[in-house]
Amino acid sequence: MKLFELRRPADPLEAIRDVLSPGARFIAGGTTMVDLMRLDVERPDVLVDLNHLGLTDIERTADGGVRLGAMTRNADVAHHPWIVAEYPVLSQALLSGASAQLRNAATTGGNVLQRTRCIYFRDVHAACNKRIPGSGCPALDGYHRNLAVLGTSANCIATNPSDMNVALISLDAIVSLRSSEGDRDVAFAEFHREPGDTPECETVLRPGELIAAISLPVARPHARSYYLKLRDRASYEFALASTAVVMSFEDGTMRDVRLALGGVATRPWPAAQAARLLEGRSPEPKLFRDAAELALLGAIGRPENRFKIELVKRCIVSALAHVTLAEFL
């Protein structure tokens, strides 16, 4: 691991000043950062420790929603009674990810910025356009079973590995950013970027900006939600495909439908068109399949990950059936 200078700011404002130093990076729960520093993928000159400076509250917002401080731990969010009762999709997504130990350390803000599990990104001896822009992408013709079929480019097909991010898209979450230039809010669905020609730019975060909180708008009355994750083993494994669905019912029809996909895309993936197809309709299997087909329009499979296109379609249908089950009975 490369030598670095550790800064322990007393409050978020000092942290924002510290991170403007050349080569500076934040460290929160450490579960991604220390791992990648040990692999030499992350080589910060200055590490700004965000522990012990607050941002740990889970609180009500004025509109009745919930605001999660960026340094809240994944386990605390997943088990919080408001989240379990009002935003079950978020609790389920968090508990489907990693292990109990990792969830105790990993933070909300850190999870938003979790890096890809692409083996070429994690191997400094390999080329990788995300790590070294312009160096090439061995995954295109190499090992890509766990990589993306949606939002890919000729430069990068790395998957965003977070379960939490998928749930946050389906909940219309807002990211609150703080910097010396002032504060700004970004819709969660606008926060992550597709790789395009610049796979090294993963989000709209600007230099010197700190994620301060994630806000969830008030849960709709009688809203139902569900996170379905498919993977190679039953626990402690990243998603091959996942679906987050949130909706409510009025007179037997689906309303305020939100669909998001994980494990199959270069960013947490909003399936907005598919959600619109369901809006105002009665649940039925044929309609679910049509929505799944629509969600995967334009998907590009490669030899090892082509199976994920059909897998995620079935994941969508299954998640929709689960959430609307009572309507069939």
Partner: protein, 165 residues
Amino acid sequence: MTVSPSPSASPLTVSITVNDAAYRKTIDVRTSLLDFLRETLGLTGTKKGCDHGQCGACTVHVNGRRINSCLQLAAMHDGDDITTVEGLARDGLLHPVQAAFLQRDGFQCGYCTPGQIMSAVALLSEPCGSGDADVAEAMSGNICRCGAYENIVAAIQDARHKLDA
């Protein structure tokens, strides 16, 4: 606060309590909490398996919560309270989870056992269903290459029943 940034970036001084004993040590800034416990303090009960948060052998409690000590910099834990497997026994008596692992033969080679036990002790105070499958899910962050899982689950269930009684 005892961690002070210095132009040379290293070393720095941390104050950490481990198993109720307060330590103040000067360390390389890169030292993981795991290496701090094993190399700086000589508490080798906590094991290094993968060093990437994938195996759970390094599980310890920080302020009462289980975490992978390999993914933590010791300097991030200045002022924190750590418990390792060496800190579980009281007055010469094994912790009920330790005793249950012995009783149920919850290991073969034993390398993952300190991590398994630290996870299991933490599990006792976490939200966890009553079934064997619930225990298996809550313990999925601890890999046992010998495959002693069946006896590990049995040991944890024994300890839970005993402590509930």
